[in-house]
């Protein structure tokens, strides 16, 4: 089985994000692998270890994606593709999906694993759109993958009514939830060997497509704004009976909940 995993570099969400004049201040920010894509990488590596799958990752970006790709190598991914093209400045999910479609068509993959959403956009669209472009089935928010045979896999998905067990015919796209696994720390030995591994870098032309074919972004970010943080309200300490009665009274009179 040949697996293609997509990894995106995103801003470290642990950091404070400062906004000035509608834009994010880059100074002091650091970028890391999208946590959900890390789950996808781990899932791919596990399929390699347990089912002998062949693993490839693809990332869209520039030179500063290389560290991230090497970390994935250290986790166990065997091949890496970096798509670096000047026209891809402000891609939206559809643009990413189109590029990924071309990457897919250049290779011969059975399963595409991607994180269910990216930590910077929280959109959750790319994987599903990719499936639509490729006209392959897709299941999202997956928490377990089981290989049935060369053509079929069974996945567990967190749906609205419960956990759905879905049988998927390959090729297919699967977007994973963080509940699927605990990504391993890149192994020391792996990190050493990853330093020497090659990364296949391509621009759109080498990929066999053009900026026109990929298309322009269908929407753009006009402005960033600070999100309103909730403020602390009233805090009551003291005799449990007294303060609880007080609060309930306020819930009724002030908050009008009861």
């Amino acid at each position: 089985m040949k697996i293609l995993t997509t990894v995106k570099k995103v801003v470290d969400v642990e950091l404070n994000i400062h906004i000035e004049n509608g834009a994010i201040i880059e100074d002091g920010l650091q970028y890391v692998i999208n946590a959900w894509d890390e789950n996808a990488v781990e899932a791919a590596v596990q399929l390699k270890e347990n089912n002998g799958a062949e693993t490839t990752l693809v990332s869209i970006g520039g030179d500063d994606n290389i560290d991230m790709i090497r970390k994935c190598y250290a986790m166990g991914i065997e091949n890496g593709i970096l798509i670096d093209d000047p026209s891809l400045t402000a891609p939206d999910s559809a643009v990413f999906a189109k590029v990924l479609q071309k990457v897919y068509e250049k290779g011969d993959y059975d399963l595409i694993l991607t994180g269910k959403q990216a930590q910077d956009t929280d959109s959750g669209q790319t994987g599903i759109m990719l499936a639509e472009y490729l006209d392959v089935p897709c299941v999202s928010n997956v928490i377990a993958i089981e290989v049935i045979d060369e053509t079929k896999i069974s996945v567990s998905r967190l749906g609205d009514t419960g956990t759905e067990i879905v049988e998927l015919t390959l090729p297919a796209v699967v977007t994973v939830s963080d509940s699927i696994n605990e990504p391993r720390l890149p192994a020391m030995r792996g990190i050493m060997m990853a330093k020497k591994k090659k990364i296949q870098t391509m621009d759109l032309a080498e990929l066999g497509t053009t900026p026109d074919e990929v298309g322009a972004a269908k929407s753009e970010i006009a402005e960033f704004m600070k999100s309103e943080t909730r403020q602390a309200g009233q805090k009551f300490e003291g005799d449990a009976a007294e303060i609880t009665a007080q609060v309930v009274a306020l819930l009724a009179s002030e908050a009008k909940v009861f």
Partner: protein, 702 residues
């Protein structure tokens, strides 16, 4: 007596002994090198105080009686060496005397007296020892046949010599010396037997025997003594009594400066090391010779187990067995290791590259393939250790247990990738944001908001760098300690700054968990930052930070004067920059942090501060100072769940709660967290307030 027999016995006995020792030494020489040839004077001093002086036995309040017991057996042995030489001489020449110890010299008489009394004392101590083993049965001891055998042999040695002299006395005094035996009779000092009451006592026990029988008894006792001695000598290298020979050298060769061998800064780029799995301690052949000597020297006394916080809370780390298992493994591989060393010696002369490859391959073949972890030492045992050093502190023969554990962890983390995966969260956090919680590095200085604390970026021209540490920066409870410390420094008008968001975890927990890669990464970055700012003096509020900055960063080019905040506060008090009010109400006790006390020998300054603060004075815990009981968070255990046995922090909290104090003073953020949690679990967090010394000082300053 009989020169022929004496020669035969000596030749055989010593030859066998020599051969055994030769192989034992060759085995050590076949292990990895380490340098212990420095600071001879300091080493001699250690040997005199710890080994000869038996400091850790006699100087220890706990088990003082058994300490005295062993000390006298040992001192007895030392004194009786001279006696033995005299006896060997007697085997050849009747009436043989060592120079200066004959009856013309007072020393001779004094020695004879000393020898006599010592033999009596040793015999009594041996009887006491057998009684302890057989009747009192202290749990730390392994009651083996070997133990009783050795005690028995020592008993026989004492008894035989006393009866020998007793028989002599009877023959000389009672039977008017028919064989013309030599004895001291200097007119100035008197009859020999005036100086040897114990022998005289022994003599009276056998006074019933006739002259001929006494004569036979004397000869029998003589040869019994000699033979027993030579048998005993040859028994020593085969078991735990090897320490009789190796203890003095082992103490002489113990680590100086830092309490145990520092972890090596591994060269992670060295591919050969990855290939032959020599990163960390993975196989027995990777021990160094001092570690081999440690294994020879383990007396199997079990004191290490007794003070180990993990063993006493039912975790599988049994240090006595640890030593024993490794020793067994080492001896199993002795032949191969010695052969390998012989091959290594031929490498020097080989110049043909093919020949060199051949030799190297042959050497690799002789390496031990058996992985230490899993097959010799269990994983649970390895990871249970909190690196508190209680074992090393109490060991009478200064065995260094902890570095082996850390080296094994290095192997597990780097090579086998078999380490507790719960550490991943902490490792990831360390890598990304420089702290084990993984909280954004940009928030590291938030705790200081509004306190008017400078950062080095603002102004690096300050006297001191205040190293806050991860807990002090991010943990809500510990932040209060940082705030208190700032209050104190500002009150005293000290010129200081913090690194703020440029500070990263010192890497202590990563190193103790064997993750050299992570450690080197953060250490490198910190050292660069510190050196760029030309930092000279650092005040650290966390003993783990203190220890790493002070004792380990120099290995990688970071040399700074590092002082713990309690030491600094003590200095401020003594120089009058701050004044302490004697206003702390209620009873107070202090928990010595492992990394402040046992690692850096800082016991007094915290106490002097607390004494000044407390109205009621300071109550000491039983397990205090050098024998303080770990809070359980060291060795990376803070970031792991404790699933086996009783919780260590609970054990300590119970001990403290028994003293019914109002305040528990601590000097480490780990201890603060663990002990406060312990008090919460005992529902005593209102009754007993856990506070850092900085907080107590800040609240009780004039």
């Amino acid at each position: 007596m009989s020169p022929l027999l004496m020669s035969a016995l000596l030749i055989v006995g010593l030859a066998v002994f020599g051969r055994t020792m030769y192989f034992k030494i060759r085995l050590l020489m076949a292990l990895e090198p380490t340098n212990r040839a420095d600071h001879i004077t300091q080493r001699l001093k250690n040997m005199v105080v710890i080994a000869i002086g038996q400091k850790r036995l006699v100087g220890r309040k706990r088990e003082w009686a058994s300490g005295i017991m062993h000390a006298f057996i040992f001192w007895g042995f030392c004194t009786l060496i001279i006696r033995s030489l005299t006896l060997y001489g007697e085997g050849f020449i009747q009436g043989f005397q060592l120079p200066f110890l004959g009856d013309e010299f007072l020393i001779g008489y004094l020695y004879v007296c000393l020898k006599d009394i010592m033999e009596g004392i040793v015999l009594l101590m041996v009887i006491y020892a057998i009684y302890r083993r057989a009747v009192l049965k202290p749990s730390r001891m392994h009651n083996t046949k070997e133990a009783y055998l050795v005690l028995g042999l020592i008993g026989i040695l004492m008894i035989s010599d006393l009866l020998l002299d007793g028989a002599r006395y009877n023959l000389i005094v009672l039977h008017h010396n028919p064989g013309d035996l030599h004895f001291f009779n200097n007119p100035r000092f008197g009859h020999e037997f005036l100086w040897t009451p114990v022998s005289v006592g022994a003599a009276s026990l056998i006074s019933g025997l006739g002259s001929a029988a006494t004569g036979y008894l004397l000869v029998a006792m003589f040869w019994l003594h000699i033979t027993t001695q030579l048998i005993f000598l040859n028994l020593l290298p085969t078991g735990k009594h090897f320490h009789v020979i190796t203890a003095l050298p082992n103490v002489f060769l113990k680590s100086l400066g830092y309490p145990h061998e520092r972890s090596k800064v591994l060269d992670l780029e060295d591919e050969a090391a990855w290939e032959d799995e020599s990163l960390g301690l993975n196989h027995i052949h990777q021990l160094n010779w001092k570690q081999g000597l440690d294994l020879y020297t383990c007396t199997e006394c079990g004191r290490c187990k007794e003070v180990c916080p993990t063993y006493t809370t039912d975790k599988p780390l049994n240090l006595l067995d640890f030593n024993d298992s490794l020793k067994f493994e080492l001896l199993e591989n002795a032949d191969n290791l010695i052969k390998r060393a012989a091959l290594a010696a031929t490498l020097k002369d080989a110049d043909d590259p093919e020949k060199i490859e051949e030799i190297k391959a042959a050497m690799a073949e002789l390496n031990s393939k058996k992985p230490l972890i899993g097959e010799v030492i269990s994983e649970d045992a390895l990871w249970a250790c909190t690196t508190c050093r209680a074992c090393e502190q109490v060991c009478p023969v200064t065995i260094e247990h902890v570095p082996r554990i850390i080296a094994m962890r290095q192997g597990q983390t780097l090579m086998a990738e078999a380490y507790p995966k719960e550490l991943n969260v902490a490792f990831k956090g360390l890598e990304r944001n420089g702290n084990p919680w993984g909280i954004g590095y940009d928030k590291r200085a938030d705790w200081a908001a509004g306190l008017e604390v400078k950062t080095m970026a603002d102004d690096a021209d300050v006297d001191y760098l205040l190293w806050v540490g991860c807990a002090g920066s991010f943990d809500d409870r510990s932040k209060k300690v940082s705030v208190s410390l700032v209050k104190i420094l500002q009150k005293a008008g000290i010129s200081f700054a913090i690194l703020g968001t440029e500070e990263k975890c010192t890497g202590d927990f990563a190193r103790r968990a064997g993750n050299e890669m992570m450690y080197q990464m953060v250490a490198q970055e910190n050292i660069e930052t510190l050196n760029n700012y030309k930092v000279k003096k650092i005040i650290a509020a966390c003993p783990h930070c203190l220890n790493t900055l002070k004792n380990e960063y120099p290995q990688m080019g970071g040399n700074y004067e590092v002082i713990h905040h309690t030491q600094f506060i003590a200095q401020l008090v003594s120089s009058g920059k701050i004044t302490l009010k004697n206003s702390l109400e209620g009873s107070l006790t202090y928990h010595d942090p492992c990394y402040l006390g046992r690692y850096n020998s800082i016991y007094d300054e915290p106490r002097s501060i607390l004494q000044s603060l407390s109205k009621e004075g300071l109550t000491e815990l039983d397990r205090k100072g050098q024998e303080s009981f770990c809070c359980g968070a060291g060795g990376g255990r803070m970031w792991m769940e404790e699933t086996i046995g009783k919780r260590i922090n609970l054990d300590r909290a119970e001990e403290i709660a028994d003293h019914k104090v109002a305040t528990l003073a601590v000097a480490c953020p780990f201890c603060l967290t663990m002990l406060e949690d312990g008090m919460k679990e005992l529902n005593k967090e209102e009754e007993i307030r856990t506070q850092d010394i900085a907080e107590l000082v800040a609240n009780n300053m004039a």
